[in-house]
C-alpha cells in the first residue's frame, strides 16, 4: 500500500511538472524550469524508493514484477484523475483570452457544459 502511494505520488509530481497538465487545473499556472526539474527528480526518486521497498518486502523475484505492474496502474490512475479533476476546478479557472492561446484546445470547459 505504501509502495502504491509512493508510485502514485511520484507520477502525480511528474504530471504536475508538465505545464500542459497543470494548466488544466491550477489558475495562472507557471512553473520555473528549476521547479519542474525538482518535481521530476522527486517523482523519479519516489518511484525508485517504491522499487526498493517492494524488493525488500516481496523479494527480488516478485518485487520488480509488482513494481512494474503498479507503475502502469498508478500512472493510469493519475491520468484518469487528471481527466475528471478539471470538472471540479474549472469554475476557478481564468476565462480564455479573446485572441486565444496555444493551449486553448486543451483547456476544459466548465462543469455541466463538458459534453453536448
Amino acid at each position: 500500500m505504501i509502495a502504491t502511494l509512493m508510485l502514485f505520488a511520484g507520477w502525480s509530481l511528474m504530471a504536475a511538472s508538465q505545464p500542459k497538465q497543470v494548466s488544466r487545473i491550477v489558475r495562472h499556472a507557471h512553473l520555473s524550469g528549476g521547479i519542474r526539474i525538482g518535481m521530476r527528480s522527486a517523482g523519479t526518486s519516489l518511484q525508485l524508493f517504491a522499487l526498493v521497498l517492494l524488493v525488500r518486502t516481496e523479494g527480488p523475484s516478485f518485487g520488480p514484477l509488482v513494481w512494474a505492474c503498479l507503475l502502469s496502474i498508478s500512472a493510469m490512475a493519475v491520468a484518469l484523475i487528471l481527466a475528471w479533476l478539471p470538472r471540479f476546478t474549472a469554475p476557478t479557472l481564468p476565462s480564455p483570452p479573446a485572441n486565444g492561446s496555444a493551449h486553448r484546445s486543451d483547456r476544459p470547459r466548465a462543469a455541466g457544459t463538458a459534453i453536448r
Binding site: 507520477w11 511528474m14 504530471a15 508538465q18 500542459k20 497538465q21 523475484s61 516478485f62 514484477l65 509488482v66 512494474a68 505492474c69 503498479l70 507503475l71 502502469s72 496502474i73 500512472a75 493510469m76 493519475v78 491520468a79 484518469l80 487528471l82 481527466a83 475528471w84 478539471p86 470538472r87 486543451d106 476544459p108 470547459r109 463538458a114 459534453i115 453536448r116
Partner: protein, 516 residues
C-alpha cells in the same frame, strides 16, 4: 511505399490494427478472464466450492487412481488440490478411447458429480491461446500471428506517437468522441506499454517449439523425445506386464521432495498404472516463484524409490521458464493477479479504442462517398467488443439457467454452453450490422441485463448470494466473480444511458440543422 519512416509505421499501425484488432481483442479478453479461470470454474461448478483442507493427505488421491485403474487407462494425471482449486482433478483416457475429467473431494476422496460444463479452464483459457480451433493447429498459428502483430503495433505505435511525453497523462473525456478515443488509446497504450510488450513476447516464447521448430529440428531432427529427455530430463520405461499395487501417495511425494527440497507437487502423473513397472512423474508447484519452474522427479510406483530427478536446466531453458512464468501466473500472489487483470482490461481498452478511432475518423467521409468500409469495421468492432462480452455472459448464464443433467434437443449442457456462446456472438454481429451506430446502446443494455441476471441466477440456483459469499472465506472466489459482474452491470448500464443521451442529442442537433 510511404514517403517517410513515420508514415510507413502509421500505415502499418493503422491497417494491421484494423485487420487483426478484433481477433486481438478476443485473445486479450479471454486472456484477461483466464487470470481468474479457476475462480470462474468454481462459479460454474457449484459442487467444487469446497474448503481446501490444510492437513491434506496425498493418499486422498487413491480413490481417483483406483477409478482410472478400473477404466484400464494407460496413464492417469492427478492434479493436486490447492487454494484456488480445492478439488482433486483426475484426467485419464477410458477404454473406449474417450478422454474424461473427474473431480474428487480432497477430504474424503469421494468422486464429485460431473458438473456438465467446460468451465473457464476448458473453454475460455484454450480460446485465449488457440481460439478453440484445434484442426491442424490453425488456432495456435493465428494467435501467434496476432502476438507478432501486437509487438509490431506496440513498436509502430511508439514511433507514430508524436507527443509521447507531452501527452503522457492526457485524457480529455470532455472533448469530441474521436479525440477522446485517441486519448484513451494513447493512455492505455503508453502507460501499459511494458505489460503489453511483455505479455505478447512471453506468449510467443511459451509456444516457441511450435513457432520456431527449426531450432529443435536442426539439432534433434524428428526425434522430439530426445529433445524432451535432454531439455527437460523426461523418463520413460515400458510396462512389465506383471500386476502390482502403487505404494502410498504420501511416500511417493516424500521421495520426490527429497530431490527438489521444499515445495509441494502440483501434479502426479502415473504411467503404467497397476503394473510392476508403474512410475510416477511429479512436478514441483510454481506457487512461490515467478518462473514456471520444472523440477520434475520420477518415482518408482511399486517401491517408492526415486528413479530420476531433473538436472538443473541450462540458462536458455531457465530464461524460457521465467518468461513463460510471467505469462502463466501460476504463482500464489493475489495482488499481482488483480494487477494482471486490470492491465489485461487496459489492453482490451487499447484495442477497442484503436478500432473506434478508425471508425470515428472515417464514418462521415465513407458515408458521403458511399463506401461501406467504416460501417463494416464498426459492425465488426461492436460484435468483437460488446458482442464478445455478451457471448461470454451468455455462456455463464446458460450454465446457471440450465439445471445440471438437462439437455437441449438431446445435447448436454457442456455442449450447449459453447454453442450458445458462438450463436450469441454471431447474433451480436447481425445486430451490429442492422443497427449500425445505435447497436452500442442495445448491446450495453444486454451486457447490463446479462451480468445482473448471472448474479441473480447464481443466487437462486446455489443460494450463494454475494453477501453470503463475502462472509464465507471459502466462497470468496464466488464473491469476486459476483461483485465483478455487478460492477460490470452498473458500468454497462451507465454507458448505455450516456450513449443513448448522446445519440438523442446528436439526432436533435442534426434535425435542427436540417430545419434551418
Amino acid at each position: 511505399m510511404e514517403p517517410t519512416f513515420r508514415a510507413s509505421m502509421n500505415w502499418l499501425h493503422t491497417w494491421s490494427g484494423v485487420v487483426l484488432g478484433s481477433l486481438l481483442f478476443a485473445i486479450f479478453w479471454m486472456g484477461t478472464l483466464s487470470v481468474f479461470d479457476k475462480e470462474i470454474d468454481r462459479w460454474m461448478m457449484p459442487a467444487s466450492r469446497l474448503a481446501w483442507p490444510a492437513d491434506f493427505s496425498y493418499d486422498a488421491m487413491r480413490p481417483a487412481y483406483q477409478a482410472a485403474l478400473a477404466a484400464k487407462s494407460p496413464s492417469v494425471l492427478l492434479l493436486v488440490p490447492n487454494e484456488r482449486t480445492p478439488v482433486i482433478t483426475g484426467l485419464w483416457r477410458a477404454a473406449d478411447g474417450s478422454f474424461a475429467q473427474h473431480m474428487f473431494d480432497p477430504r474424503t476422496g469421494a468422486e464429485l458429480p460431473d458438473q456438465g460444463t467446460l468451465g473457464a479452464s476448458r473453454f475460455i483459457y484454450p480460446f485465449h491461446y488457440s481460439l478453440n480451433l484445434k484442426v491442424l493447429g490453425i488456432g495456435y498459428w493465428i494467435v501467434g500471428l496476432c502476438g507478432m502483430m501486437m509487438m509490431a503495433l506496440c513498436v509502430s505505435g511508439v514511433v507514430i506517437h508524436r507527443k509521447i511525453f507531452t501527452d503522457f497523462f492526457t485524457f480529455r473525456p470532455e472533448r469530441k468522441i474521436r479525440r477522446t478515443m485517441l486519448d484513451l488509446h494513447n493512455v492505455a497504450g503508453v502507460l501499459g506499454l511494458p505489460f503489453h510488450v511483455v505479455i505478447s513476447v512471453s506468449g510467443l516464447v511459451i509456444l516457441f517449439s511450435l513457432y520456431f521448430p527449426s531450432s529443435i529440428w536442426a539439432v534433434y531432427r524428428q526425434d522430439a523425445r530426445l529433445f524432451g529427455r535432454e531439455a527437460y530430463g523426461t523418463f520413460a520405461r515400458p510396462p512389465a506386464k506383471r500386476p502390482a499395487d502403487l505404494v502410498s501417495f504420501d511416500t511417493i511425494v516424500a521421495s520426490a521432495k527429497s530431490a527438489w527440497g521444499q515445495g509441494e507437487p502440483n501434479y502426479l502423473y502415473v504411467f503404467n498404472p497397476g503394473d510392476a513397472a508403474a512410475y510416477v512423474q511429479l512436478n514441483r508447484s510454481s506457487e512461490d516463484v515467478v518462473s514456471n519452474i520444472s523440477h520434475v522427479a520420477y518415482v518408482d510406483g511399486a517401491t517408492g524409490e526415486l528413479l530420476s530427478a531433473g538436472k538443473p536446466e541450462k540458462p536458455a531453458a531457465v530464461t524460457q521458464r521465467f518468461i513463460a512464468g510471467l505469462h502463466f501466473i501460476q504463482f500464489r500472489h493475489w495482488t499481482l493477479r488483480w494487477l494482471y487483470f486490470g492491465l489485461g482490461l487496459a489492453g482490451c481498452v487499447l484495442i477497442a479504442t484503436g478500432l473506434l478511432f478508425w471508425v470515428e475518423s472515417r464514418r462521415d467521409r465513407h458515408r458521403t462517398l458511399g463506401r461501406s468500409g467504416a460501417r463494416v469495421v464498426e459492425a465488426v468492432t461492436v460484435a468483437s467488443v460488446t458482442g464478445l462480452l455478451i457471448a461470454t455472459l451468455a455462456f455463464m448464464v446458460t450454465n446457471r439457467a440450465l439445471p445440471l443433467g438437462t439437455s437441449v434437443f438431446g445435447v448436454e449442457r457442456g455442449v450447449v454452453e459453447p454453442v450458445v456462446f458462438h450463436l450469441i456472438w454471431l447474433l451480436s454481429l447481425l445486430h451490429a450490422w442492422l443497427f449500425a451506430g445505435r447497436a452500442w446502446v442495445g448491446q450495453c443494455r444486454a451486457i447490463s441485463v446479462l451480468a445482473g441476471g448471472a448474479v441473480l441466477l447464481n443466487t437462486v440456483t446455489t443460494g450463494d448470494h454475494p453477501i453470503r459469499a463475502l462472509a464465507d472465506r471459502q466462497l470468496w472466489p464466488i464473491a469476486g466473480i459476483d461483485v465483478t459482474l455487478i460492477i460490470s452491470a452498473v458500468i454497462a448500464a451507465l454507458a448505455a444511458i450516456r450513449l443513448a443521451r448522446r445519440g438523442r442529442a446528436g439526432t436533435g442537433s442534426s434535425m435542427e440543422a436540417e430545419s434551418r
